[in-house]
């Protein structure tokens, strides 16, 4: 990924949630905020420096 992202506060996350098009309850948003922070922390493991042309498989085929 291009740069490490600062974890959003609950307020920032709530603002973002409003743009997802999902009907979310305050409880949903709190759970999703925790889940998102956890996922974000895990995603820090993913390499950041991909060649611009590094192409993922369009349909993954184990026999390719």
């Amino acid at each position: 990924m291009t740069s490490p992202k600062a974890p959003p506060t609950l307020e920032e996350f709530r603002a973002r949630a409003a743009h997802t098009g999902l009907p979310l309850t305050p409880e949903d948003i709190e759970h999703l905020h925790k889940g998102y922070l956890g996922l974000l922390e895990m995603m820090a493991r993913m390499p950041t420096g991909w060649a611009w042309a590094a192409e993922p498989p369009h349909i993954f085929r184990a026999d390719e």
Binding site: M1, T2, F13, R16, A17, T20, G21, L22, P23, L24, D28, H31, L32, K34, G35, Y36, G38, L39, M42, M43, R45, M46, P47, W50, A54, E55, P56, P57, I59, F60, R61, A62, D63
Partner: protein, 469 residues
């Protein structure tokens, strides 16, 4: 008299071929056992008794006339309730599909029926193969037959529980991040996630297109091989389906394994000292060490090999599942969020917060991990590692919404690489629960996986003990 419900598929087939057993008698034995004990574990959502009896009669008539359709002819099996079945409701264990009756069978169901299998019914699952089993869903949670206070693992929960409890001879499951191998491990059955593309997913509810696989669970490795003999093959209606040569998996279970080279990924299940390094229970380590010894005595070479970090596969797979599952279920979580269980809904909502870049990075990462895994496997036929961290979970409410944050999945590496991976039971712990290891192979080399798993089962006593209900 032998209890017919604990016969293996191969043995039942042999008896039917000799005219010593009828499919009708076998089917009645299973229907009677389901009526007697399934109330304790709730593995079935729908029992299709009449359909099963008709199929059994048909099989008996054909076999009497000298027609043999293959290893599943007359064999009673069941389906995870995400497999579409013509005329029989396919609920996905969800309020959203509780009344949905498909018009046609999934391709795998068609193959099972063409092979003469008798479909006993539809089995409980984590909602849409993802959410936990919670009280706000339309069917009771499936329970572990070894101890009904515990969960059977998921998402193919009913499949693992029903096979272990002798309520069917084999069952279909699906595996996107471990959903065949988790219940197989916790319920003490065999189960294989085939190579991505080997078995059609057409007519199976999707969770994550680029990771979903369909496959069987059964009591023994040999029975899984016989089921895969019927299930494998190209399907033009599944865009990921591969064209590969036909392999006799049943025959592969009889191959000697002398000279087979197995890479042991011990560092995945015996973590270091870091806060995020997990380790399996001590008894599980001992059981796997014993299994390594047995495989060596059978002539295989087992050596420790370093693979990419387990967390790398875990995060890669989780990002892909989260994004793709959201895309699949987005409309439903917008229009009818109240119809999902409270864990399922949030797991499907989370993908709305991922960026396109994050999803594509995960796909790029997947290719890198697949290449690195293949490089680490150079010179080896199989990979061996633990199947689960320890005992299954209890039914405490509320359940974790995002269950994947605490520990990496031991099963995810082979979803990410697409390679076949099988669960093999290797003991019963002092807590009364089964222990298990995984054997994984190169893409489309299920034959070597079956050879090693079956050889191990033949010389160990673990297939002689069933849960008591």
């Amino acid at each position: 008299m032998t209890d017919l419900t604990t016969l293996g598929i191969a043995e039942a087939g042999r008896r039917m071929a000799r005219g010593e057993l009828t499919s009708a008698a076998l089917t009645e034995a299973f229907l009677a056992r389901i009526a007697a004990v399934d109330g304790k574990i709730s593995s079935y959502i729908t029992v299709t008794a009449d359909i099963a009896r008709n199929a059994a009669r048909q099989a008996d008539m054909e076999m009497k006339g000298g027609v043999r359709r293959g290893p599943l002819h007359g064999i009673p099996v069941a389906l995870k309730d995400i497999y579409e079945t013509a005329g029989v409701r396919t609920t996905g264990h969800s309020h959203l599909k509780v009344d949905y009756v498909p018009a046609i069978d999934a391709e795998t169901v068609r193959r099972l029926k063409d092979g003469g299998a008798v479909i006993l019914g539809k089995l409980g699952t984590h909602e849409f193969a993802n959410g936990a089993m919670t009280p706000d869903q339309p069917f009771p949670a499936v329970r572990n037959p070894w101890n009904t206070q515990y969960q059977p693992g998921g998402s193919s929960s009913g499949s693992g529980a029903a096979v272990a409890a002798a309520l069917c001879m084999g069952a279909m499951g699906s595996d996107t991040g471990g959903s065949i191998r988790n219940p197989a491990g916790f319920c003490g059955t065999a189960g294989i996630k085939p190579t991505y593309g080997l078995v059609s997913r057409c007519g199976v509810y999707p969770l994550s297109f680029s990771l979903d696989t369909a496959g069987p669970l059964s009591w023994t490795v040999e029975d899984c091989a016989l089921m895969l003999d019927v299930l494998a093959g190209h399907d033009p209606h599944d865009p990921a389906s591969a064209s590969t040569a036909k392999v006799d998996y049943g025959a592969a279970t009889l191959r000697p394994i002398k000279g087979l080279r197995i890479a042991l990924a011990r560092h995945w299940y015996e973590g270091g000292k870091g806060a995020k390094d997990a380790s399996v229970a001590t008894e599980m380590k001992t059981s796997i060490d014993d299994a390594v010894r047995v495989l060596r005595e059978l002539g295989a070479t087992v050596e420790e090999v370093r693979f990419p970090d387990l967390w790398d596969y875990h995060v890669c797979g989780r990002v892909i599942i989260t994004a793709e599952a959201h895309a699949i279920h987005r409309q439903e979580v917008i229009e009818t969020p109240e119809k999902f269980g409270y864990t399922t809904r949030r797991r499907f909502q989370l993908g709305a917060f991922l960026t396109a870049e994050e999803y594509v990075s995960a796909l790029r990462f997947r290719r890198q991990l697949a290449l690195d895994t293949r490089a680490a496997m150079r010179g080896y036929d199989l990979v061996m590692t633990a199947n689960q961290w320890g005992a299954p979970e209890t039914f405490q409410e509320p359940q974790p919404i995002f269950h994947f944050l605490d520990k990496p999945s031991l099963t995810m590496p082979f979803n990410v690489t697409g390679e076949p991976a099988m669960t093999v039971c290797c003991g019963i712990g002092s807590d009364g629960f089964p222990q298990a290891f995984q054997l994984a192979g190169r893409a489309f080399d299920e034959a070597s996986v079956f050879a090693a798993g079956a050889a191990y089962e033949r010389v160990t006593p673990w297939r002689s003990r069933r849960p008591k209900l």
